[in-house]
Amino acid sequence: MLVCEDLVKTYRTRRSVGPARPAVDGVSLGVAPGETFALVGESGCGKTTVARMAVGLLRPASGRILLEGRDLARMRGRELMTLRRQVQIVFQDPAGALDPRQTVGGAVAEPLLLHRLGGPSWRRRETERLFRQVGLGPREMGRFPHQLSGGQKQRVLIARALSLRPRYIILDEPVSALDVSVRAQILNLLAAIQAELGLGYLLISHDLAVVRNVASRAAVMHRGRLVEEGPVEEVWSRPAHPYTRALLKAIPVPDPALRPEPPSSPPPEPEADPVGARADSCLYESLCPRSARLCRRRRPRPERADHWVACHYPLILRRRDDPGPPR
């Protein structure tokens, strides 16, 4: 398992006075081999920060990253290098993630070189193999990024992530820069690779349709915190957090029969962060239709369950023997 435990990260900003609200605040999640775990949420909610901590590109202020039960922070030198190889990342923007002056073959071979694996001819064969694995030919190896389509660039990045033979891959919005017809090609490729190699994926996405179709579990992130987690089918059919429901309702479905009634007055833009909101309130409070006094005074904590929610007044009923959060 790749486990993130209670991760916290605060960025210092120039403009803020006083202690800044953490970008990531107590996020815990686990990815099992062969499984796709999705982290969903809107832009700026902290998904990419979690991703960067999970691959070790960013040090958490507190919390731990455990790989097969071993704490990454306690490891040094060779051991750390070896362990790090096992978690790789594919970034969102395929164009920006590749060096325009480097051939894409070079880009895929680079991690092998950096980790001093094999000699030149082995690396070349290995690169060829990786290209084949992602559905590209050896002809593409000598090309530069601008000579490839968006989908081909994303394949190159997947090949690069695979080069160190990881056990987990973090996919940060892997298809959101792609057209829908190409999106399906890349998702099929990722599924085939997962089936073949038994990889665990941490899929980070704002696209709830994609998540529903490819992930087995999902956590919903809102302003640095997880608000709900569970099996995808459960969460999608019975969302418990008001924010999850709002997200699901907002997805435009490609079926005009499901079109909501057109509004009879201009839908106003809510103010997300009213002044005076308390740090220990529920962060969805200002937008939540169910908000009550308790929500402003106490931060809702998750109850531990297969499908859990951090909300004082969740949308689905608790089991009768469940006392709920302390009031």
């Binding site: 989908g151 704002h206 709830l208 907002a250 479905v253 490609p254």
Partner: protein
């Protein structure tokens, strides 16, 4: 029958490039009616934005150039107008909203001043500007508009910026609004509200709305009619209900399957093979044929390009074999096949054998 405010007829526009002319708009026709929304949908590079810019003659020239067709605004051809008259048309009749709200606003000018600029240039003289500015912002659903006048764009969320742009666009009372991917840069919850706002304003103000998007979910949520664009041409136009029930063009079907994330019997998502063609080097015949599964069984597809044909009320499609499923039903569509070029049986057999 509602009268057309804007009719685009056989519009053509190209960009000069090192590889020769890029035919971004290659014979596009559609019309807009007051209070109705037409969605122009297609993948990136299909020519949607070029179409949007060509209508109000905003294509950057060079490298862009309108090379033919008509843009009739209440019967008057905008492409024939003196260039000096265009600012007036753009001010009073056609307004635009673009994808990136951040870059469309002036970062060093207050919100109030930017809306006021639009109010002043396009308003009949007289009347207090400040009140008109506040009214324009309020109409776009900007909360506490008086407080926004002195704010700068960077102080606003993405959704609010887009609302300010909508306020600016509508301050001049246009009859046509062209919105190019107005919600693509926004989060889903914000997107839903902006789409609702556009739908509301469109009906309330009787706007003829051209909504450009790559997202069929957005189309289903907002539009009355849809036009699918592929490689510079509109390949299918239909009322949304008909379109989502029974799209006829193989590309439309592929797009819809991709949007719905349909799987085939092996459990893989259905894909459209290949990629969008290079507009400087289009394939011969039907421009979709190198990617079209039907074309593998039909030699006609590589012959002369299919013309637009009527396929039902308000439904036109540019395809020799509309509605045909690709594999296993090679002959089923024959009754509907065109009288024009038709594949010889031997050819079809050899092709299907190769599948």
């Amino acid at each position: 029958m509602v009268e057309d405010v804007l009719r685009v007829i056989d519009l053509r526009a190209e960009f000069r490039s090192a590889r020769g002319p890029v035919k971004a708009v290659d014979g596009v026709s559609f019309s807009l009616q007051p209070g109705r929304t037409l969605a122009l949908v297609g993948e990136s590079g299909s020519g949607k934005s070029a179409t949007a810019l060509a209508i109000p003659r905003l294509l950057p020239d060079p490298p862009g150039r309108v090379t033919g067709g008509q843009v009739l605004l209440r019967g008057r051809d905008l492409l024939e107008l003196d260039p000096d008259e265009m600012p007036r048309v753009r001010g009073r009749e056609i307004a635009m909203v673009f994808q990136e709200p951040a870059s469309a606003l002036n970062p060093v000018m207050t919100v109030g001043d930017q809306v006021a600029e639009s109010v002043r240039t396009h308003r009949r003289p007289g009347g207090p500007v400040r009140a008109a500015v506040i009214e324009a912002l309020a109409r776009a659903g900007v909360p506490a508009p008086e407080k926004r006048l002195r704010q700068y764009p960077h102080e606003l969320s993405g959704g609010l910026k887009q609302r300010v742009l909508i306020a600016i666009a509508l301050a001049c009372g246009p009859s046509v609004l062209i919105a190019d991917e107005p919600t693509t840069a926004l989060d889903v919850t914000v997107q839903a509200r902006i789409l609702d706002l556009l739908a509301y304003l469109g009906r309330r103000l009787g706007l003829a709305l051209l909504l450009i998007t790559h997202d069929l979910g957005v189309v289903a949520r907002t539009a009355e009619r849809v036009a699918v664009m592929y490689a510079g041409r509109v390949v299918e136009t239909a009322p949304v209900g008909r379109f989502f029930r029974s799209p006829l063009h193989p590309y439309s079907r592929g797009l819809l399957e991709a949007a719905r994330m349909t799987r085939d019997d092996t459990g893989s998502f259905r894909v459209i093979d290949g990629a969008v063609p290079d507009l400087a080097d289009l394939p011969s015949g039907c421009r979709f044929h190198p990617r079209c599964a039907v074309a593998r069984l039909r030699a006609a597809c590589a012959g002369p390009p299919p013309p637009a044909r009527e396929a039902g009320p308000g439904h036109t499609v540019e395809c020799w074999y509309p509605g045909e499923a690709a594999v296993g039903r090679a002959w089923a569509g024959c009754a509907r096949a065109p009288a024009g070029p038709r594949p010889a049986a031997a050819e079809v057999n050899s092709r299907s054998a190769g599948l």
